[in-house]
Symmetry: C2
Subunit: 434 residues, 2 copies
C-alpha cells in the first residue's frame, strides 16, 4: 500500500498489515512519508486505535528505526523498570542497585524532568561528577561488569520516536494511548532488555488521573510486550501525593540512600520494594514476589545494595563518598517553613501543584535547555492523613534564591487541604497486572 492508502485504511477502520505499518514508519524515518501524512495518520489512530498486532508492528518499526542495543554478552535476564512519571519519584535510584545487588542486570535509559515531574537523569547528576552520557560501549561494559548502568537517551535509539513525538506535540495527538504505549516500549526495548516492570502512576500528580486510564495503558503495554516476546508486569501505584518526603534532585538522592540503608519514608520504600521484587521474579532470581522481598531485605541489611550504588556511582564518574557524607552533595543555603493556616488532618495534596512549584523554585526546567539547581526542593513534613496544628510546618522549602519565594510558599500552602477528619487511607500499590 502507498502511504495514502495506508492512512485511508486506518481512517476507515480496516486492520493494517504489519508490513504496511513497517513501510509507513520506515518512510517517515527516511522522509518519503511526510510530516503531514504522519499527522493525518496519528489523528486517524487517535480515533481508530491500533489493535495488538498493529501495535506490535508499530512499536517494532519504531524500535528498528535505530540501533537496538545488543547485551547478549551479559549473562542473565536483563530487566528494566519504567515509570510514567510522578513527583518525588526517586524509585530508580534505589531500585537499580537493589536489583543489581540481587543478580538482575539492569540496563536503564532514563529521561529528564518533564512538565511537573522529575527525571532520573537530573537526580543522578546532582551527585558530583556523575555522568549520564556514556558511550554505548561503556554502557554495555557496565551492565556486564557492574550489573547496572543508568544513562540518557541517545540519538541512535528509536529516532522515529523522537521525530514522531515532536510532531504529536504540535498536532494534538500526544494523549493517544497506543501512541504513548508504543513510544515508551520502543525506547525501552531499544535498551536491550528481556523483561520490563512498569510503574503506572495514578492520581493528582500522575499523567493518568483515573484508574481506568492507568489500567488501559498498563494492558496496552503488556500487550505490546507479548507481541514482541518480552514479559511485562505492571504495578499501578498511587501518585495522589509526592512519593516519600523529598522533592528535588539532591534531596531525593539522600532519601534514596536512606532507603538503601534500611530507612527512608515507608511509602517510598514500599513502592520501591514492590517494583524491585517484580524485577527479581522476572529476572529469575526469586520464584515469587514474597521470596523476592526477603532477598531484597537481605541486600539492604548486609549493605550490598548500598555498596552497589557506590559501585555504580564510581564507574559512572561520580563521587561515591557523596552518598556516605551528604555534605558532599549540593545543599541549599537557606530554608523556609510553610505553616498550616488551620488545624486538622491533611486530607488532600495537589501533587501536580507541588511538582510545578518545585520546577518554579529551580528543581526542574520551565523550558528545554534551562539549567536546574540540584540543591533546591521541598521536604514534606506532613503527608496525607497527618495531623497538623495552626502554624505548624507542612513543608520545608530548601532554596538558594529568594526571588519568588513568597509565591512558592503560597503555592505549597494552597496545594494542601486540611480537614477536620483524616481521609481514608489509599493503597500504595493499587493493582498488579500482568
Amino acid at each position: 500500500m502507498t502511504p495514502y492508502e495506508t492512512i485511508k485504511a486506518k481512517r476507515d477502520g480496516r486492520q493494517l498489515d504489519p508490513e504496511d505499518i513497517r513501510r509507513f514508519l520506515e518512510g517517515y524515518t527516511t522522509g518519503t512519508v511526510s510530516d503531514y501524512q504522519m499527522a493525518a495518520m496519528c489523528m486517524a489512530v487517535f480515533f481508530r486505535g491500533l489493535d495488538p498486532r498493529e501495535l506490535g508492528a508499530w512499536t517494532r518499526a519504531m524500535l528498528e528505526s535505530g540501533e537496538v542495543l545488543e547485551l547478549s554478552d551479559t549473562p542473565g535476564i536483563k530487566v528494566d523498570k519504567h515509570s510514567t512519571g510522578g513527583v518525588g519519584d526517586k524509585v530508580s535510584l534505589a531500585l537499580a542497585p537493589l536489583a543489581a545487588a540481587c543478580g538482575v542486570p539492569v540496563p536503564m535509559i532514563s529521561g529528564r524532568g518533564l512538565g511537573h515531574t522529575g527525571g532520573t537523569l537530573d537526580k543522578l547528576e546532582s551527585i558530583p561528577g556523575f555522568k549520564v552520557d556514556l558511550p554505548i560501549s561503556e554502557y554495555r561494559r557496565l551492565v556486564r561488569e557492574v550489573g547496572a548502568c543508568l544513562i540518557g537517551q541517545t540519538a541512535t535509539l528509536a529516532p522515529a520516536d523522537k521525530k514522531l513525538y515532536a510532531l504529536r506535540d504540535v498536532t494534538a495527538t500526544v494523549d493517544c494511548l497506543p501512541l504513548i504505549a508504543s513510544s515508551i516500549m520502543s525506547k525501552k526495548l531499544a535498551e536491550g532488555i528481556d523483561a520490563l516492570v512498569l510503574d503506572v502512576k495514578v492520581g493528582s500528580g500522575a499523567f493518568m488521573k483515573e484508574l481506568d486510564d492507568a489500567r488501559a495503558l498498563a494492558r496496552t503495554m503488556i500487550g505490546i510486550g507479548a507481541e514482541m516476546g518480552r514479559k511485562v508486569v505492571a504495578l499501578i501505584t498511587d501518585m495522589d501525593q509526592p512519593l516519600g518526603r523529598a522533592v528535588g534532585n539532591a534531596l531525593e538522592v539522600e532519601e534514596a540512600v536512606a532507603m538503601l540503608r534500611g530507612g527512608g519514608p515507608p511509602d517510598f520504600a514500599e513502592v520501591t520494594l514492590a517494583l524491585t521484587a517484580e524485577m527479581l521474579v522476572l529476572g529469575g532470581r526469586a520464584p515469587d514476589p514474597a521470596q523476592a522481598r526477603q532477598r531484597l531485605a537481605e541486600a539492604i541489611r548486609d549493605g550490598s545494595a548500598f555498596r552497589k550504588l557506590q559501585e555504580i556511582i564510581r564507574h559512572q564518574g561520580g563521587d561515591p563518598l557523596a552518598v556516605e557524607d551528604f555534605s558532599r552533595l549540593p545543599r541549599s543555603r537557606a530554608s523556609l517553613a510553610v505553616p498550616a493556616r488551620s488545624s486538622g488532618f491533611v486530607s488532600a495534596i495537589d501533587c501536580e501543584a507541588i511538582g510545578l512549584a518545585a520546577v518554579a523554585l529551580g528543581a526542574g526546567r520551565l523550558r528545554t535547555g534551562s539549567t536546574i539547581d540540584p540543591a533546591v526542593g521541598f521536604t514534606l513534613e506532613r503527608k496525607l492523613g497527618d495531623a497538623v496544628g495552626v502554624g505548624e510546618t507542612l513543608v520545608t522549602i530548601r532554596y538558594n534564591d529568594d526571588r519568588g519565594l513568597d509565591d512558592t510558599l503560597r503555592r505549597v500552602q494552597s496545594a494542601y487541604t486540611i480537614s477536620p477528619a483524616a481521609p481514608a487511607r489509599r493503597p500504595l500499590v493499587v493493582e498488579r497486572i500482568e
Copy 2:
C-alpha cells in the same frame, strides 16, 4: 485559541468558535499554521464533522483567503450551476447560453477533467481559439455585456482551497463531506454569484455512488449557502450511464449545439432544461420551474440560445462558425465499432469504466499537465434499456492513435452488461432539494 488548541477542541468534539476557525485558516494561508497541523485538523474533521455554523465560518475563511469578485455593475441576480462531475456531462455548454439568453447573468468558473470525469474547460478549448484564461476585468465585462462568461480558476480566488485540496489529496481527507462542500462553495462564492444551482450526480459514474451520500452533500451545501446568505437549489441527477451519447471534448460540443438547436439526446436535454429552469427561477426570470421551461423552449425555438453561444464564443476568442460547421472542430481520423458479444438489452453500463477508457484514449489526462486530444472519444450507440443483437455496435470509438485500441475496445465491451430483459427505467432527476 492556539492552532494546537483548535485542533484538540475539534478532536474532542467541541464546537469551534467562528473566530477560531477564521484564525486557523488564515494562519494556514499565511503559513503560521503548518501543513501537518492542517492535516491533523482535516482528519479530526473527518471524524467529528463541522456543524452548520462551523461550516459557514470555514467556507467564509477560505473564500476570504483570496479575492472575491465584485459583479455589482451587472444588474440582476447572478446565478451559476455546479456539477459534482460525471461522464459525458456537457450541461454547462448548453445551460450557460440558455440562461443568459433568458436574462440570467451567468458568471461561471469551471474546472478541467478530474479522474474519470470530463471538464468544461477542456470541452470549451476544443472550439478553435476559445480562451478560458481571461483577465478578471474581461470576465467582469463579459458577464455584464454578454450575460455569461466561462473561465478557469485563477490563483487569486480562494487560494486556501487550492493549498488545502493539495494537502487533502495526499492525506486521505478528500472524501470528507464538509471539506468537499466548503471547497466547492468557497470557489463558487468567490465568483461573485448571488445564487447557485447544484447538480449532484449519483450512480456508477459519479463520485457519490449512493443516493444518501448525494443527498447529504446537497443538504450540506444548501446549509452553507444559508449561512452565507446565498440561495442554493440542488437536483440529484442520474449518472449510472454517461449523459447523452457523446463522451469526448469536441464530440460533446457538437452534442451541446444539437441540444441548443432543439435536438440532441433526450436525457441530456432533460437534465439541462431541469437545471437551467432552476436558474431562471432563482434569477427571478420565471415564477416557477414549469414557466421557466416554457421560456427555455422559446429560447431554443427562436434561436436566441444558440446565438448566445456564438456570442460567448466570439467574445472569448473562439471561432463562432465552428458550431455551425462542425468540420471546423477537431475531428478524429478514424473510428471503430465496438460490437456486442451477446444479444439482449443493455442492463448496466459501468460509467466510471467508460470515463477511464476515454481518458486512456486521450480525451482526458492521466496526470496533471499532460495534453489531451480534443477530437477523440466515444459515441454511445446503445444506452441503458436499448435492445442489441450479437455483433451490433454498442459504441463507436473515435480515435487518432491506434496504440492501445484493442484495450479500449475490450474496456468498453466489458463496461456493458447485456441481459435478456430490459432494466427498470431510472428517473433522470432523482430528487430536488432546496
